[in-house]
Amino acid sequence: MTERLQNIARKIGGPLYSNRRLIEYYWQRTQRNKLAVLGLSFIAFLILLALIGPFFTLDPTLVNFEENNLPPVGFATEESVYNIYTDEFTTTEISGTWKHPLGTDSKGRDMLAMIISGARISLQVGLIATGIAITLGTIIGVLSAYLGGWADNILMRFTDVMMTFPFFLLLVLIVFIFGPSLALIVLVIGITGWTGTARLLRSEALSLRTRDFVTAAKALGASDGRVIFGHLIPNVASLIIVIATLSIPGVILAEAALSFIGLGDPTTTSWGIILNSGQQSLDTAWWIAVEPGIMLFLTVLAFNFLGDGLRDAFDPKSNI
Protein backbone atom coordinates (compact mmCIF):
# COMPACT_ATOMS: atom_id res chain seq x y z
CA MET A 1 0.00 0.00 0.00
CA THR A 2 2.70 2.47 0.92
CA GLU A 3 4.53 1.59 -2.24
CA ARG A 4 1.45 2.43 -4.19
CA LEU A 5 1.11 5.80 -2.46
CA GLN A 6 4.72 6.51 -3.17
CA ASN A 7 4.16 5.60 -6.77
CA ILE A 8 1.35 8.08 -6.99
CA ALA A 9 3.41 10.70 -5.23
CA ARG A 10 6.15 10.12 -7.71
CA LYS A 11 3.84 10.51 -10.66
CA ILE A 12 2.57 13.80 -9.29
CA GLY A 13 6.19 14.71 -8.93
CA GLY A 14 6.07 16.88 -5.83
CA PRO A 15 9.01 19.11 -5.01
CA LEU A 16 11.80 16.97 -3.74
CA TYR A 17 13.06 19.09 -0.87
CA SER A 18 9.69 19.54 0.78
CA ASN A 19 8.73 15.91 0.57
CA ARG A 20 10.50 13.77 3.12
CA ARG A 21 8.67 10.68 2.11
CA LEU A 22 9.74 11.04 -1.48
CA ILE A 23 13.35 11.48 -0.45
CA GLU A 24 13.13 8.40 1.73
CA TYR A 25 11.61 6.48 -1.15
CA TYR A 26 14.36 7.47 -3.57
CA TRP A 27 16.94 6.71 -0.93
CA GLN A 28 15.54 3.22 -0.55
CA ARG A 29 15.62 2.67 -4.27
CA THR A 30 19.17 3.94 -4.50
CA GLN A 31 20.18 1.69 -1.66
CA ARG A 32 19.00 -1.32 -3.62
CA ASN A 33 21.80 -0.63 -6.06
CA LYS A 34 24.90 -2.03 -4.34
CA LEU A 35 27.32 -0.25 -6.64
CA ALA A 36 25.68 3.09 -5.91
CA VAL A 37 26.06 2.49 -2.18
CA LEU A 38 29.67 1.52 -2.76
CA GLY A 39 30.22 4.71 -4.73
CA LEU A 40 28.58 6.83 -2.07
CA SER A 41 30.68 5.19 0.65
CA PHE A 42 33.85 5.94 -1.24
CA ILE A 43 32.83 9.56 -1.77
CA ALA A 44 32.02 9.91 1.92
CA PHE A 45 35.40 8.40 2.78
CA LEU A 46 37.12 10.77 0.38
CA ILE A 47 35.38 13.80 1.84
CA LEU A 48 36.37 12.72 5.34
CA LEU A 49 39.93 12.15 4.16
CA ALA A 50 40.07 15.58 2.56
CA LEU A 51 38.60 17.27 5.62
CA ILE A 52 40.55 15.72 8.45
CA GLY A 53 43.34 13.87 6.67
CA PRO A 54 45.73 16.84 6.53
CA PHE A 55 45.79 17.02 10.35
CA PHE A 56 47.35 13.57 10.58
CA THR A 57 49.77 13.58 7.69
CA LEU A 58 53.13 15.21 7.08
CA ASP A 59 53.38 18.51 5.29
CA PRO A 60 52.84 17.70 1.60
CA THR A 61 55.23 20.48 0.59
CA LEU A 62 58.08 19.36 2.81
CA VAL A 63 61.03 18.64 0.54
CA ASN A 64 63.62 16.15 1.76
CA PHE A 65 66.23 14.94 -0.69
CA GLU A 66 67.60 12.47 1.85
CA GLU A 67 64.49 10.35 1.43
CA ASN A 68 63.49 10.88 -2.18
CA ASN A 69 61.98 8.21 -4.43
CA LEU A 70 61.10 5.94 -1.52
CA PRO A 71 58.76 3.13 -2.63
CA PRO A 72 55.49 2.45 -0.79
CA VAL A 73 55.43 0.04 2.14
CA GLY A 74 55.82 -3.55 0.99
CA PHE A 75 57.69 -2.59 -2.17
CA ALA A 76 61.36 -2.24 -2.82
CA THR A 77 63.46 -0.67 -5.55
CA GLU A 78 67.05 -0.73 -6.45
CA GLU A 79 69.01 2.45 -6.55
CA SER A 80 72.35 2.86 -8.25
CA VAL A 81 74.62 5.33 -6.57
CA TYR A 82 77.79 6.53 -8.16
CA ASN A 83 80.63 6.75 -5.74
CA ILE A 84 83.04 9.44 -6.81
CA TYR A 85 85.84 8.07 -4.65
CA THR A 86 85.81 4.54 -5.87
CA ASP A 87 84.51 5.44 -9.34
CA GLU A 88 81.96 2.68 -9.38
CA PHE A 89 78.22 2.19 -9.06
CA THR A 90 76.88 0.58 -5.97
CA THR A 91 73.41 -0.83 -6.06
CA THR A 92 71.41 -0.65 -2.90
CA GLU A 93 67.95 -1.96 -2.27
CA ILE A 94 65.53 0.53 -0.79
CA SER A 95 62.29 -0.65 0.79
CA GLY A 96 59.31 1.40 1.82
CA THR A 97 58.97 2.55 5.39
CA TRP A 98 55.93 3.24 7.54
CA LYS A 99 57.05 6.82 7.87
CA HIS A 100 56.01 7.23 4.24
CA PRO A 101 53.36 4.52 3.70
CA LEU A 102 52.82 5.47 0.05
CA GLY A 103 56.44 6.35 -0.56
CA THR A 104 57.94 9.68 -1.53
CA ASP A 105 58.38 11.56 -4.79
CA SER A 106 61.57 12.68 -6.47
CA LYS A 107 61.87 15.59 -4.05
CA GLY A 108 61.25 13.40 -1.03
CA ARG A 109 57.76 14.70 -0.37
CA ASP A 110 55.39 12.31 1.34
CA MET A 111 53.06 10.73 -1.22
CA LEU A 112 50.27 10.06 1.28
CA ALA A 113 50.19 13.70 2.31
CA MET A 114 50.22 14.81 -1.30
CA ILE A 115 47.44 12.42 -2.29
CA ILE A 116 45.26 13.61 0.58
CA SER A 117 45.93 17.21 -0.27
CA GLY A 118 45.11 16.33 -3.89
CA ALA A 119 41.80 14.82 -2.79
CA ARG A 120 40.91 18.15 -1.28
CA ILE A 121 41.66 19.93 -4.54
CA SER A 122 39.81 17.42 -6.72
CA LEU A 123 36.72 17.59 -4.55
CA GLN A 124 36.83 21.37 -4.43
CA VAL A 125 37.18 21.60 -8.18
CA GLY A 126 34.53 18.97 -8.78
CA LEU A 127 31.95 20.45 -6.44
CA ILE A 128 32.46 24.16 -7.11
CA ALA A 129 32.81 23.96 -10.87
CA THR A 130 29.85 21.59 -11.13
CA GLY A 131 27.91 23.92 -8.87
CA ILE A 132 28.56 26.86 -11.19
CA ALA A 133 27.83 24.85 -14.32
CA ILE A 134 24.63 23.33 -12.96
CA THR A 135 23.35 26.65 -11.65
CA LEU A 136 23.98 28.35 -14.98
CA GLY A 137 22.57 25.41 -16.92
CA THR A 138 19.45 25.26 -14.77
CA ILE A 139 18.75 28.97 -15.05
CA ILE A 140 19.37 29.07 -18.79
CA GLY A 141 17.49 25.85 -19.51
CA VAL A 142 14.44 26.62 -17.38
CA LEU A 143 14.33 30.26 -18.46
CA SER A 144 14.56 29.22 -22.08
CA ALA A 145 11.69 26.79 -21.71
CA TYR A 146 9.59 29.15 -19.64
CA LEU A 147 10.01 32.24 -21.82
CA GLY A 148 9.78 30.45 -25.16
CA GLY A 149 9.71 32.41 -28.40
CA TRP A 150 12.70 34.49 -29.43
CA ALA A 151 14.33 34.34 -26.00
CA ASP A 152 14.30 30.56 -26.20
CA ASN A 153 15.67 30.71 -29.70
CA ILE A 154 18.57 33.00 -28.79
CA LEU A 155 19.47 31.04 -25.66
CA MET A 156 19.45 27.74 -27.48
CA ARG A 157 21.49 29.04 -30.43
CA PHE A 158 23.98 30.36 -27.89
CA THR A 159 24.04 26.91 -26.29
CA ASP A 160 24.72 25.38 -29.71
CA VAL A 161 27.68 27.68 -30.26
CA MET A 162 29.07 26.87 -26.83
CA MET A 163 28.66 23.16 -27.52
CA THR A 164 30.56 23.46 -30.77
CA PHE A 165 33.55 25.14 -29.20
CA PRO A 166 36.46 22.74 -28.71
CA PHE A 167 36.11 22.88 -24.95
CA PHE A 168 39.43 21.46 -23.88
CA LEU A 169 41.40 23.63 -26.27
CA LEU A 170 39.59 26.67 -24.93
CA LEU A 171 40.46 25.61 -21.42
CA VAL A 172 44.12 25.15 -22.29
CA LEU A 173 44.19 28.47 -24.07
CA ILE A 174 42.57 30.51 -21.33
CA VAL A 175 44.62 28.94 -18.58
CA PHE A 176 47.79 29.48 -20.54
CA ILE A 177 46.98 33.11 -21.32
CA PHE A 178 45.82 34.15 -17.88
CA GLY A 179 48.14 31.97 -15.88
CA PRO A 180 47.39 28.73 -14.10
CA SER A 181 45.45 29.39 -10.93
CA LEU A 182 42.99 26.97 -9.39
CA ALA A 183 40.29 29.64 -9.15
CA LEU A 184 40.54 30.39 -12.86
CA ILE A 185 40.45 26.71 -13.79
CA VAL A 186 37.36 26.16 -11.69
CA LEU A 187 35.71 29.26 -13.10
CA VAL A 188 36.41 28.39 -16.72
CA ILE A 189 35.19 24.80 -16.34
CA GLY A 190 32.09 26.07 -14.58
CA ILE A 191 31.30 28.76 -17.13
CA THR A 192 31.79 26.50 -20.14
CA GLY A 193 30.27 23.33 -18.75
CA TRP A 194 26.60 24.25 -18.50
CA THR A 195 25.43 23.44 -22.02
CA GLY A 196 24.36 19.84 -21.54
CA THR A 197 22.45 20.71 -18.38
CA ALA A 198 20.68 23.57 -20.11
CA ARG A 199 19.52 21.36 -22.95
CA LEU A 200 18.26 18.58 -20.70
CA LEU A 201 16.50 20.90 -18.29
CA ARG A 202 14.94 22.86 -21.09
CA SER A 203 13.26 19.79 -22.51
CA GLU A 204 12.20 18.67 -19.04
CA ALA A 205 10.84 22.11 -18.16
CA LEU A 206 9.04 22.32 -21.49
CA SER A 207 7.00 19.28 -20.60
CA LEU A 208 6.38 20.61 -17.07
CA ARG A 209 5.33 24.04 -18.28
CA THR A 210 2.03 22.76 -19.56
CA ARG A 211 1.26 20.70 -16.47
CA ASP A 212 -1.70 21.63 -14.32
CA PHE A 213 0.12 22.82 -11.23
CA VAL A 214 2.04 25.40 -13.26
CA THR A 215 -1.13 26.60 -14.94
CA ALA A 216 -2.80 26.72 -11.53
CA ALA A 217 0.06 28.74 -10.04
CA LYS A 218 -0.14 31.20 -12.91
CA ALA A 219 -3.91 31.41 -12.62
CA LEU A 220 -3.50 32.28 -8.94
CA GLY A 221 -1.38 35.20 -9.97
CA ALA A 222 2.09 33.91 -9.20
CA SER A 223 4.90 36.00 -10.67
CA ASP A 224 7.24 34.55 -13.29
CA GLY A 225 10.01 34.31 -10.72
CA ARG A 226 7.73 32.51 -8.32
CA VAL A 227 6.66 30.03 -11.00
CA ILE A 228 10.25 29.36 -12.03
CA PHE A 229 11.84 29.12 -8.60
CA GLY A 230 8.84 27.90 -6.67
CA HIS A 231 7.40 25.39 -9.09
CA LEU A 232 9.53 24.54 -12.09
CA ILE A 233 12.98 24.20 -10.54
CA PRO A 234 11.87 22.17 -7.49
CA ASN A 235 10.20 19.75 -9.85
CA VAL A 236 13.32 19.15 -11.87
CA ALA A 237 15.40 18.77 -8.69
CA SER A 238 15.81 15.04 -9.13
CA LEU A 239 17.10 15.49 -12.64
CA ILE A 240 19.49 18.19 -11.44
CA ILE A 241 20.89 15.88 -8.78
CA VAL A 242 21.53 13.15 -11.33
CA ILE A 243 23.15 15.51 -13.82
CA ALA A 244 25.31 17.03 -11.09
CA THR A 245 26.50 13.65 -9.86
CA LEU A 246 27.33 12.54 -13.37
CA SER A 247 29.07 15.85 -14.24
CA ILE A 248 31.46 15.88 -11.28
CA PRO A 249 33.76 13.16 -12.67
CA GLY A 250 34.13 15.02 -15.98
CA VAL A 251 35.08 18.20 -14.15
CA ILE A 252 37.58 16.45 -11.90
CA LEU A 253 39.10 14.82 -14.97
CA ALA A 254 39.33 18.12 -16.83
CA GLU A 255 41.32 19.70 -14.01
CA ALA A 256 43.51 16.62 -13.73
CA ALA A 257 44.14 16.57 -17.48
CA LEU A 258 45.03 20.23 -17.45
CA SER A 259 47.46 19.73 -14.57
CA PHE A 260 48.81 16.64 -16.25
CA ILE A 261 49.86 18.57 -19.35
CA GLY A 262 51.61 21.15 -17.21
CA LEU A 263 48.94 23.80 -16.81
CA GLY A 264 47.98 23.01 -13.22
CA ASP A 265 48.13 25.53 -10.42
CA PRO A 266 51.77 25.16 -9.33
CA THR A 267 50.97 26.21 -5.77
CA THR A 268 48.84 23.08 -5.27
CA THR A 269 49.56 19.37 -5.21
CA SER A 270 46.63 18.23 -7.31
CA TRP A 271 46.54 14.64 -8.54
CA GLY A 272 47.16 15.77 -12.08
CA ILE A 273 50.30 17.62 -11.06
CA ILE A 274 51.66 14.61 -9.18
CA LEU A 275 50.86 12.46 -12.21
CA ASN A 276 52.73 14.87 -14.44
CA SER A 277 55.87 14.58 -12.35
CA GLY A 278 55.33 10.83 -12.10
CA GLN A 279 55.31 10.43 -15.86
CA GLN A 280 58.85 11.72 -15.99
CA SER A 281 60.16 9.19 -13.50
CA LEU A 282 58.30 6.09 -14.65
CA ASP A 283 61.47 4.02 -14.81
CA THR A 284 62.78 5.06 -11.38
CA ALA A 285 59.65 5.58 -9.29
CA TRP A 286 56.53 4.09 -10.84
CA TRP A 287 54.35 4.74 -7.79
CA ILE A 288 54.37 8.49 -8.31
CA ALA A 289 52.30 8.05 -11.46
CA VAL A 290 50.32 5.06 -10.24
CA GLU A 291 48.99 6.33 -6.91
CA PRO A 292 47.29 9.59 -7.89
CA GLY A 293 45.92 7.86 -10.99
CA ILE A 294 44.30 5.16 -8.91
CA MET A 295 42.71 7.77 -6.67
CA LEU A 296 41.49 9.71 -9.67
CA PHE A 297 40.10 6.56 -11.24
CA LEU A 298 38.35 5.44 -8.05
CA THR A 299 36.85 8.88 -7.47
CA VAL A 300 35.48 9.08 -10.99
CA LEU A 301 34.22 5.51 -10.74
CA ALA A 302 32.49 6.25 -7.43
CA PHE A 303 30.66 9.26 -8.85
CA ASN A 304 29.66 7.27 -11.92
CA PHE A 305 28.32 4.43 -9.79
CA LEU A 306 26.36 6.83 -7.60
CA GLY A 307 25.05 8.85 -10.53
CA ASP A 308 23.93 5.75 -12.36
CA GLY A 309 22.21 4.42 -9.25
CA LEU A 310 20.45 7.73 -8.67
CA ARG A 311 19.28 7.85 -12.25
CA ASP A 312 17.86 4.36 -11.97
CA ALA A 313 16.10 5.35 -8.78
CA PHE A 314 14.58 8.47 -10.27
CA ASP A 315 13.71 6.95 -13.62
CA PRO A 316 10.26 5.39 -13.53
CA LYS A 317 11.09 3.26 -16.55
CA SER A 318 13.57 1.25 -14.53
CA ASN A 319 10.72 0.20 -12.25
CA ILE A 320 9.90 -2.89 -14.30
Binding site: V161, F165, F167, F168, F176, I261, L275, A289, G293
Partner: protein
Protein backbone atom coordinates in the same frame (compact mmCIF):
# COMPACT_ATOMS: atom_id res chain seq x y z
CA UNK B 1 10.11 9.97 -52.68
CA UNK B 2 12.39 12.91 -53.33
CA UNK B 3 14.36 14.65 -50.66
CA UNK B 4 14.37 18.12 -52.18
CA UNK B 5 13.82 19.69 -48.77
CA UNK B 6 17.10 18.11 -47.72
CA UNK B 7 19.13 20.28 -50.08
CA UNK B 8 17.66 23.47 -48.64
CA UNK B 9 18.29 22.12 -45.19
CA UNK B 10 21.94 21.37 -45.94
CA UNK B 11 22.47 24.83 -47.40
CA UNK B 12 20.88 26.42 -44.36
CA UNK B 13 23.09 24.38 -42.07
CA UNK B 14 26.25 25.20 -44.03
CA UNK B 15 25.57 28.92 -43.76
CA UNK B 16 24.96 28.44 -40.07
CA UNK B 17 28.24 26.51 -39.76
CA UNK B 18 30.20 29.29 -41.42
CA UNK B 19 28.70 31.87 -39.07
CA UNK B 20 29.52 29.80 -35.98
CA UNK B 21 33.01 29.06 -37.23
CA UNK B 22 33.56 32.76 -37.83
CA UNK B 23 32.35 33.54 -34.30
CA UNK B 24 34.67 31.01 -32.78
CA UNK B 25 37.67 32.18 -34.79
CA UNK B 26 36.96 35.69 -33.59
CA UNK B 27 36.72 34.64 -29.96
CA UNK B 28 39.94 32.64 -30.24
CA UNK B 29 41.70 35.46 -32.02
CA UNK B 30 40.74 37.96 -29.35
CA UNK B 31 41.69 35.57 -26.56
CA UNK B 32 45.10 34.94 -28.07
CA UNK B 33 45.80 38.58 -28.77
CA UNK B 34 44.77 39.95 -25.39
CA UNK B 35 47.32 37.63 -23.87
CA UNK B 36 50.00 39.41 -21.90
CA UNK B 37 52.88 38.47 -24.18
CA UNK B 38 53.54 39.32 -27.80
CA UNK B 39 54.87 36.70 -30.22
CA UNK B 40 57.90 38.87 -30.65
CA UNK B 41 58.79 38.49 -26.98
CA UNK B 42 60.07 34.96 -27.33
CA UNK B 43 62.29 35.92 -30.21
CA UNK B 44 63.56 38.89 -28.34
CA UNK B 45 64.36 36.75 -25.35
CA UNK B 46 66.38 34.46 -27.58
CA UNK B 47 68.09 37.37 -29.26
CA UNK B 48 68.95 39.00 -25.96
CA UNK B 49 70.34 35.71 -24.72
CA UNK B 50 72.67 35.56 -27.68
CA UNK B 51 73.85 39.07 -26.95
CA UNK B 52 72.20 41.02 -29.74
CA UNK B 53 70.77 44.49 -29.56
CA UNK B 54 67.15 43.96 -28.79
CA UNK B 55 65.74 47.43 -29.31
CA UNK B 56 66.55 47.55 -32.99
CA UNK B 57 65.22 44.17 -33.77
CA UNK B 58 61.94 44.58 -31.92
CA UNK B 59 60.32 46.87 -34.42
CA UNK B 60 61.64 44.87 -37.32
CA UNK B 61 60.15 41.66 -36.04
CA UNK B 62 56.87 43.18 -35.08
CA UNK B 63 56.53 44.70 -38.49
CA UNK B 64 57.47 41.40 -40.09
CA UNK B 65 54.62 39.58 -38.40
CA UNK B 66 52.20 42.46 -38.49
CA UNK B 67 51.82 42.58 -34.75
CA UNK B 68 52.68 46.26 -34.51
CA UNK B 69 49.35 47.23 -36.01
CA UNK B 70 46.25 47.81 -33.83
CA UNK B 71 44.43 44.61 -32.99
CA UNK B 72 41.43 45.41 -35.15
CA UNK B 73 43.59 45.83 -38.21
CA UNK B 74 45.39 42.58 -37.46
CA UNK B 75 42.03 40.86 -37.19
CA UNK B 76 40.83 42.30 -40.49
CA UNK B 77 44.08 41.26 -42.20
CA UNK B 78 43.77 37.80 -40.78
CA UNK B 79 40.19 37.33 -41.96
CA UNK B 80 40.98 38.65 -45.43
CA UNK B 81 43.93 36.30 -45.68
CA UNK B 82 41.88 33.43 -44.43
CA UNK B 83 39.43 33.91 -47.26
CA UNK B 84 42.34 33.77 -49.68
CA UNK B 85 43.31 30.46 -48.14
CA UNK B 86 46.31 32.04 -46.45
CA UNK B 87 46.27 30.72 -42.92
CA UNK B 88 49.17 32.82 -41.72
CA UNK B 89 52.75 32.15 -40.73
CA UNK B 90 53.79 29.98 -37.84
CA UNK B 91 56.38 31.83 -35.77
CA UNK B 92 57.66 28.90 -33.83
CA UNK B 93 58.16 26.47 -36.70
CA UNK B 94 58.95 29.09 -39.37
CA UNK B 95 56.61 27.75 -41.99
CA UNK B 96 53.17 28.61 -43.35
CA UNK B 97 50.42 27.35 -41.03
CA UNK B 98 48.74 25.57 -43.91
CA UNK B 99 51.89 23.52 -44.55
CA UNK B 100 52.22 22.73 -40.89
CA UNK B 101 48.67 21.42 -40.82
CA UNK B 102 49.14 19.51 -44.05
CA UNK B 103 52.06 17.58 -42.60
CA UNK B 104 50.50 16.90 -39.23
CA UNK B 105 46.77 16.22 -39.71
CA UNK B 106 47.38 12.65 -40.79
CA UNK B 107 48.76 11.70 -37.37
CA UNK B 108 45.58 12.81 -35.64
CA UNK B 109 43.46 11.27 -38.34
CA UNK B 110 45.01 7.81 -38.15
CA UNK B 111 44.80 7.81 -34.36
CA UNK B 112 41.17 8.88 -34.27
CA UNK B 113 40.15 6.62 -37.14
CA UNK B 114 41.75 3.49 -35.69
CA UNK B 115 40.48 4.20 -32.17
CA UNK B 116 36.94 4.83 -33.39
CA UNK B 117 36.86 1.69 -35.48
CA UNK B 118 38.28 -0.39 -32.66
CA UNK B 119 35.88 1.08 -30.12
CA UNK B 120 32.76 1.04 -32.29
CA UNK B 121 33.29 -2.48 -33.59
CA UNK B 122 34.03 -4.12 -30.26
CA UNK B 123 31.70 -1.88 -28.26
CA UNK B 124 28.68 -2.56 -30.43
CA UNK B 125 29.37 -6.28 -30.49
CA UNK B 126 29.74 -6.52 -26.72
CA UNK B 127 26.77 -4.23 -26.18
CA UNK B 128 24.47 -6.34 -28.32
CA UNK B 129 25.63 -9.52 -26.65
CA UNK B 130 25.19 -7.99 -23.22
CA UNK B 131 21.64 -6.86 -24.04
CA UNK B 132 20.64 -10.23 -25.46
CA UNK B 133 22.01 -11.90 -22.34
CA UNK B 134 20.48 -9.34 -19.99
CA UNK B 135 20.74 -10.20 -16.27
CA UNK B 136 23.24 -12.99 -16.84
CA UNK B 137 26.78 -13.11 -15.47
CA UNK B 138 28.12 -12.05 -18.86
CA UNK B 139 25.88 -9.00 -18.87
CA UNK B 140 26.85 -8.01 -15.32
CA UNK B 141 30.53 -8.42 -16.13
CA UNK B 142 30.24 -6.36 -19.30
CA UNK B 143 28.34 -3.63 -17.47
CA UNK B 144 30.84 -3.55 -14.63
CA UNK B 145 33.82 -3.45 -16.97
CA UNK B 146 32.21 -0.71 -19.03
CA UNK B 147 31.89 1.34 -15.84
CA UNK B 148 35.59 0.91 -15.27
CA UNK B 149 36.27 1.81 -18.89
CA UNK B 150 34.38 5.08 -18.77
CA UNK B 151 35.90 6.01 -15.42
CA UNK B 152 39.54 5.38 -16.18
CA UNK B 153 41.24 8.69 -17.07
CA UNK B 154 42.63 8.07 -20.53
CA UNK B 155 45.86 10.01 -20.06
CA UNK B 156 46.57 7.97 -16.94
CA UNK B 157 45.73 4.79 -18.80
CA UNK B 158 48.27 5.86 -21.40
CA UNK B 159 50.93 6.38 -18.74
CA UNK B 160 50.11 3.03 -17.17
CA UNK B 161 50.32 1.27 -20.53
CA UNK B 162 53.71 2.84 -21.08
CA UNK B 163 54.80 1.80 -17.60
CA UNK B 164 53.69 -1.78 -18.11
CA UNK B 165 54.41 -2.49 -21.78
CA UNK B 166 57.34 -0.18 -22.41
CA UNK B 167 59.19 0.36 -19.15
CA UNK B 168 58.61 -3.03 -17.52
CA UNK B 169 58.04 -5.45 -20.40
CA UNK B 170 59.73 -3.56 -23.23
CA UNK B 171 57.16 -4.73 -25.77
CA UNK B 172 56.33 -1.35 -27.23
CA UNK B 173 58.12 1.93 -27.57
CA UNK B 174 57.06 4.59 -25.09
CA UNK B 175 57.10 7.32 -27.70
CA UNK B 176 55.62 7.37 -31.15
CA UNK B 177 58.27 7.09 -33.83
CA UNK B 178 57.58 9.74 -36.47
CA UNK B 179 60.08 8.31 -38.94
CA UNK B 180 57.92 5.28 -39.63
CA UNK B 181 56.15 5.13 -42.98
CA UNK B 182 52.40 5.57 -42.50
CA UNK B 183 51.23 2.40 -44.14
CA UNK B 184 53.49 -0.08 -42.44
CA UNK B 185 53.15 -2.74 -39.81
CA UNK B 186 55.63 -0.93 -37.59
CA UNK B 187 53.43 2.14 -37.64
CA UNK B 188 50.44 0.02 -36.72
CA UNK B 189 52.41 -1.47 -33.85
CA UNK B 190 53.44 1.97 -32.69
CA UNK B 191 49.78 2.93 -32.60
CA UNK B 192 48.64 -0.02 -30.47
CA UNK B 193 49.08 1.68 -27.11
CA UNK B 194 47.71 5.05 -28.24
CA UNK B 195 44.67 3.40 -29.77
CA UNK B 196 43.98 1.44 -26.58
CA UNK B 197 44.45 4.64 -24.59
CA UNK B 198 42.01 6.63 -26.66
CA UNK B 199 39.71 3.76 -27.53
CA UNK B 200 39.03 2.25 -24.10
CA UNK B 201 36.79 5.05 -22.88
CA UNK B 202 34.93 5.16 -26.17
CA UNK B 203 34.60 1.39 -26.23
CA UNK B 204 33.12 1.35 -22.75
CA UNK B 205 30.71 4.12 -23.68
CA UNK B 206 29.57 2.29 -26.78
CA UNK B 207 29.00 -0.90 -24.80
CA UNK B 208 26.68 1.00 -22.49
CA UNK B 209 24.85 2.89 -25.22
CA UNK B 210 24.46 -0.17 -27.43
CA UNK B 211 23.21 -2.26 -24.56
CA UNK B 212 20.60 0.28 -23.59
CA UNK B 213 19.52 0.96 -27.17
CA UNK B 214 19.20 -2.76 -27.82
CA UNK B 215 17.24 -3.31 -24.62
CA UNK B 216 14.84 -0.57 -25.71
CA UNK B 217 14.22 -2.42 -28.96
CA UNK B 218 14.46 -6.10 -28.08
CA UNK B 219 11.03 -6.13 -26.47
CA UNK B 220 9.31 -4.19 -29.24
CA UNK B 221 6.44 -5.62 -31.24
CA UNK B 222 8.35 -5.77 -34.51
CA UNK B 223 10.96 -8.05 -32.94
CA UNK B 224 8.22 -10.49 -31.98
CA UNK B 225 6.88 -10.15 -35.53
CA UNK B 226 10.32 -10.95 -36.91
CA UNK B 227 10.44 -14.09 -34.77
CA UNK B 228 6.88 -15.00 -35.76
CA UNK B 229 7.97 -14.80 -39.39
CA UNK B 230 10.36 -17.67 -38.67
CA UNK B 231 13.55 -15.65 -39.04
CA UNK B 232 16.64 -17.06 -37.34
CA UNK B 233 17.59 -15.31 -34.12
CA UNK B 234 20.69 -13.88 -35.77
CA UNK B 235 18.52 -11.97 -38.24
CA UNK B 236 15.96 -11.00 -35.63
CA UNK B 237 18.62 -9.35 -33.45
CA UNK B 238 21.22 -8.34 -36.01
CA UNK B 239 18.78 -6.94 -38.53
CA UNK B 240 15.42 -6.08 -37.06
CA UNK B 241 16.38 -5.02 -33.54
CA UNK B 242 19.81 -3.59 -34.30
CA UNK B 243 18.67 -1.61 -37.32
CA UNK B 244 16.42 0.31 -34.94
CA UNK B 245 19.00 0.53 -32.16
CA UNK B 246 21.39 2.18 -34.61
CA UNK B 247 19.28 5.33 -34.60
CA UNK B 248 20.16 6.63 -31.11
CA UNK B 249 23.57 4.94 -31.28
CA UNK B 250 24.61 6.69 -34.44
CA UNK B 251 24.01 10.14 -32.98
CA UNK B 252 26.03 9.32 -29.89
CA UNK B 253 28.93 7.82 -31.80
CA UNK B 254 29.13 10.82 -34.10
CA UNK B 255 28.87 13.25 -31.21
CA UNK B 256 31.67 11.40 -29.45
CA UNK B 257 33.77 11.60 -32.56
CA UNK B 258 33.36 15.35 -32.55
CA UNK B 259 34.26 15.71 -28.92
CA UNK B 260 37.28 13.39 -28.84
CA UNK B 261 39.05 15.39 -31.52
CA UNK B 262 39.96 17.94 -28.88
CA UNK B 263 39.51 15.90 -25.76
CA UNK B 264 40.93 12.42 -25.61
CA UNK B 265 42.90 12.60 -28.84
CA UNK B 266 44.62 15.78 -27.68
CA UNK B 267 45.80 14.17 -24.45
CA UNK B 268 46.72 10.88 -26.10
CA UNK B 269 48.90 12.69 -28.62
CA UNK B 270 50.68 14.49 -25.80
CA UNK B 271 51.22 11.34 -23.72
CA UNK B 272 52.71 9.40 -26.62
CA UNK B 273 54.35 12.31 -28.39
CA UNK B 274 52.31 11.86 -31.56
CA UNK B 275 52.80 14.98 -33.69
CA UNK B 276 49.13 15.44 -34.58
CA UNK B 277 47.07 18.59 -34.57
CA UNK B 278 46.58 18.35 -30.80
CA UNK B 279 50.28 18.23 -30.18
CA UNK B 280 51.12 21.11 -32.54
CA UNK B 281 48.40 23.33 -31.15
CA UNK B 282 49.58 22.49 -27.65
CA UNK B 283 53.13 23.44 -28.56
CA UNK B 284 51.85 26.52 -30.34
CA UNK B 285 50.03 27.70 -27.25
CA UNK B 286 53.21 27.51 -25.22
CA UNK B 287 55.16 29.19 -28.00
CA UNK B 288 52.64 32.03 -28.36
CA UNK B 289 52.27 30.99 -31.96
CA UNK B 290 48.75 32.31 -32.35
CA UNK B 291 48.10 31.68 -36.08
CA UNK B 292 48.54 27.96 -35.42
CA UNK B 293 46.24 28.07 -32.39
CA UNK B 294 43.51 29.91 -34.25
CA UNK B 295 43.86 27.65 -37.29
CA UNK B 296 43.65 24.44 -35.29
CA UNK B 297 40.69 25.75 -33.32
CA UNK B 298 39.00 26.65 -36.59
CA UNK B 299 39.63 23.22 -38.04
CA UNK B 300 38.35 21.54 -34.90
CA UNK B 301 35.22 23.64 -34.82
CA UNK B 302 34.52 23.12 -38.48
CA UNK B 303 35.06 19.41 -38.09
CA UNK B 304 32.54 19.26 -35.25
CA UNK B 305 30.03 21.29 -37.26
CA UNK B 306 30.48 19.05 -40.29
CA UNK B 307 30.17 15.91 -38.23
CA UNK B 308 26.93 17.28 -36.78
CA UNK B 309 25.60 18.05 -40.23
CA UNK B 310 26.61 14.69 -41.65
CA UNK B 311 24.96 13.05 -38.65
CA UNK B 312 21.69 14.86 -39.22
CA UNK B 313 21.65 14.20 -42.94
CA UNK B 314 22.61 10.54 -42.59
CA UNK B 315 19.91 10.22 -39.97
CA UNK B 316 17.24 10.98 -42.54
CA UNK B 317 18.37 7.90 -44.40
CA UNK B 318 18.62 5.78 -41.30
CA UNK B 319 15.22 6.76 -39.99
CA UNK B 320 12.62 7.17 -42.73
CA UNK B 321 10.31 8.95 -40.29
CA UNK B 322 12.60 11.97 -39.83
CA UNK B 323 12.03 15.20 -41.70
CA UNK B 324 13.68 18.53 -40.96
CA UNK B 325 11.83 21.60 -42.07
Amino acid sequence: MGKSWLRDYIIKRLIYAVIIAWGIVTITFVLVRVGPSSPADKYLANMAASGQDVSQITTAIEARYGVDKPIFEQYADYMVNLFQWDWGWSFSTSMPVIDLIKTHWIYSFQLILLSSLFAAFLGILIGIYSAVKQYTKIDYTATFLSFIGISIPNFWLGVMLILLFSVKLGLFKAYYDTTLPLFSLENLKALVLPVITLGTGMLAGYVRYTRSAMLDNLRKGFVTTARAKGLPERTVIGKHAFRNAILPLFTIIMFDLGSIVFGGAYLTEIVFGIPGLGQISFNAIFADDYPVVVAVTLIGTFLILMINLITDVAYTYLDPRIRYD
